[in-house]
Subunit: 194 residues, 2 copies
DNA sequence: TCGCATGCGTACCGATCGGTACGCGTGTGT
DNA sequence: ACACACGCGTACCGATCGGTACGCATGCGA
């Protein structure tokens, strides 16, 4: 979490880091601009010199939080070249690790989506687009497997991942991680044409 | 959504109904007490005469929203007596129907959980307890099947359900409903000892 | 040394938040 | 007809929200 729109001033950089941390840990609505400013050690105007508004900051945060999946795909490809199934299981394992890491508080995009009830809010539409990309990424991975309906399997896996992510906050993260891996394996296996 | 703590006065009843509707549609934090009062056609004090605070109202709302699952279990038992697998599939189908119904906005308990970042908040602990009961209910259903690890299958199914629920808000509800049923079938089948 | 542009924090803005003091209106027992 | 009790809304409270006007402080070119 160090990227996002380029920050010119050092104050802007501090704001960006603090906001990303605070938005994730406390939720976007719970984190006030005054609190962000205080914990950044800057004044409130420094926030508005670098970001259009709190919503703009939230939008940048959401977009930045969507980056990791693309990286996972790359590492999976590198780890298991010419092994589509291995790549898919690699990605799932990576996700399982992430959601059971200490400090995990659920998918930032999903949380943001819940916090903004208005479906037309920029944050909501951004989440929709980013999640669509993510599903596409999963579908691409699945497409190299010998299954009848790639898109359905991808959708089922995506549901599973989202479910594992959210249940970490309700049950136990460790259980969600292991159950995700097992369920994904079973789901994939049941769709594989042998 | 007509139950909850008994409402004595008519004003209290109106508040209760409006609050449940508003909390679900707009989220708890987004729905202000003034808005609840206005849309109920009552004054703000009428809210505080029937509920301790907004948090208390939110807590009652969450508890009331947790009721349906128990009903589903009963109807499933009645629909498929002496058929554990049929009962389980019946419950899943019922959930699939619920999450694809118009106006569905995700699981109220999960949404509430996301809206309150503090894990010690009464709403959060209530959600934890209620969801635990729910998982228990699913585990009981699964326990009558001939599978090796009942609890693991129940947990995987629960993850699937939560995932289906949340993806309705990100992708398409219809797809989530059908994918839920298919994935659950595949998961159950893969665990069945034949 | 002076003028100026730039980056920043202090102090404040109106709006809205959850919550409450208080008094009016009405139904009832006498 | 009167007094009382009860249910209710108006008007207000301090706190906090997102956002901004303004002035200081510093560094650079002349």
């Amino acid at each position: 979490m160090a990227d996002g729109p380029p920050r010119h001033s050092p104050a802007g950089q501090r704001v960006w880091e603090t906001a990303c941390d605070l938005f994730y840990r406390e939720g976007i609505r719970s984190a006030g601009v005054a609190e962000i400013a205080e914990r950044s050690g800057v004044g409130k105007p420094s926030i508005y010199r670098n970001f259009e508004s709190k919503d703009g900051l939230a939008l940048a945060y959401v977009k930045a939080k969507a980056a990791p999946p693309r990286v996972w795909l790359e590492t999976a490809r590198a780890a298991c070249p010419d092994d589509p199934l291995g790549q898919l299981r690699h990605v799932i394992a990576e996700i399982a690790e992430q959601i059971s890491a200490p400090g995990y508080r659920g998918c930032a995009l999903v949380n943001a989506s819940v916090e903004f009830p208005d479906r037309d809010h920029p944050v909501r539409v951004a989440v929709g687009e980013l999640k669509a990309e993510y599903l596409e990424l999963l579908a691409e991975l699945v497409s190299h497997l010998s299954v009848r309906d790639h898109r359905t399997l991808a959708y089922m896996l995506q549901m599973l991942v989202e479910g594992a992510s959210v249940t970490t906050q309700i049950y136990e993260a460790e259980k969600s991680a292991t159950a995700l891996k097992e369920a994904a394996d079973r789901l994939i296996d049941s769709c594989l044409e042998r």
